[in-house]
Symmetry: C2
Subunit: 217 residues, 2 copies
DNA sequence: GTCTATAGAACGATAGAC
DNA sequence: GTCTATCGTTCTATAGAC
């Protein structure tokens, strides 16, 4: 029944994958408007018309790209959190471990369907700051449920805090994570070249310490 | 000698100001690439050719816009910090006050040369995440010196920390500030509509408490 | 499935009348 | 200083040969 190229292709999705990889690279550099199909297809070494054949439109390519990158990360987050909840049951999971399950999948970026030379961190940073018109529904689709899940677990770990306090501080924690992802490239400038913005292990560790301390105040 | 319209016009910069105001509004919504001169001039109710007459090019308009918005904020930051240093001399300024001088001018946004209905917060959030090619040098021009100034004062307030620790934690503090500015619109979503993303006074206060606690760990 | 070729619209920038 | 008109380019998307 399903013969459309948008369905699950069984053989040789090579072109499709090449386009997704190139799109990620080009989008990471300049965002949606700056990502022209000419640049993407040139980068992917495929024909200009291939994008519309495989994805239908530029916007659909964009949606496929985001799904391709965000979904594995969020899936990993849920999985890690579930593991930790089980491991600590019936006690609540310590705050620093909860935040580690939130931050680590983003920073390692493993589990991505197509881990090219593309900088996943940059794609996410760019996506999070795209104009509202283009990314309407992005936040809800990828983060609304996840946020609730995490806040619920944090509330269990910090029963003395009111739901409102949890919401404010979780918002600030996520803001720190996102700001760190976006500003990562400027760490070297700020430190006069002494600190390495590419050393994600250290940044991840510093971020966790900072956020947990900020949250507990 | 100076007859160029790019010089300091003495009378009726009304068109120029209208263009700057409209450019801020349009840029805030969609970033540089999405900001078309046609949209800007339509919004400003001036002719399409007026942009090139007053600014020379779209890129120059962009630079003028950023200067117009960033410079007053940074000027106010320096001024507030100077005041606090003087008020506390010869003691160091408390950390929470240092950060208040960094955050408050950004959130209030007063002192802007043209405070239209334009959302200054959004302009800044967008500018900070523009593609590196377009904003090359932006960070250095507007933030490099300011960062040094603030880190120097923070080091005075926290003499027990190493310069490297100061750099990491200041980076994380700035990341939190930027992330908060960018994600502000999502506070309502995260809190299921219970918290108001527009209430900048509360957010500013929560941000300060969070960052100071995160910094001191 | 992959190409070439091109339609149709929008873009930044400029020339020249007033 | 402000207009109209337009040039040359680039964009997304599609039609149709192979």
């Amino acid at each position: 029944m399903e013969t459309s190229p948008k369905g699950n292709c069984s053989v040789s999705d090579k072109t499709r994958q090449r386009i997704l990889g190139a799109a990620g690279k080009v989008f990471a550099q300049g965002g949606y408007r700056a990502m022209t199909l000419r640049q993407v297809t040139h980068e992917a070494k495929v024909n200009l018309a291939a994008v519309n054949y495989h994805f239908g439109s530029k916007m659909n390519l964009m949606r496929a790209l985001l799904r391709d990158r965000f979904e594995p990360i969020n899936q990993q987050r849920r999985q890690l959190l579930d593991q930790q909840v089980e491991a600590h049951a019936p006690d609540p999971v310590p705050l620093s471990i909860i935040y580690d399950t939130l931050f680590r999948p983003l920073f390692t970026g493993i589990g991505s369907a197509s881990d090219n030379d593309t900088n996943l961190i940059q794609i996410i940073g760019r996506a999070l700051t795209e104009p509202a018109e283009f990314m309407r529904g992005l936040h809800k689709e990828f983060f609304a449920d996840l946020s609730k899940r995490f806040m619920s677990e944090i509330q269990r770990s910090c029963p003395e805090l009111s739901p409102e306090q949890i919401q404010y501080r979780f918002f600030l924690s996520v803001s720190t994570m996102i700001g760190t992802v976006i500003e990562q490239v400027h760490l070297e400038t700020i430190s006069d070249g002494k600190l390495d913005g590419k050393n994600l292990d250290i940044i991840l560790n510093e971020l966790n310490t900072f956020v947990v301390a900020g949250f507990q105040q």
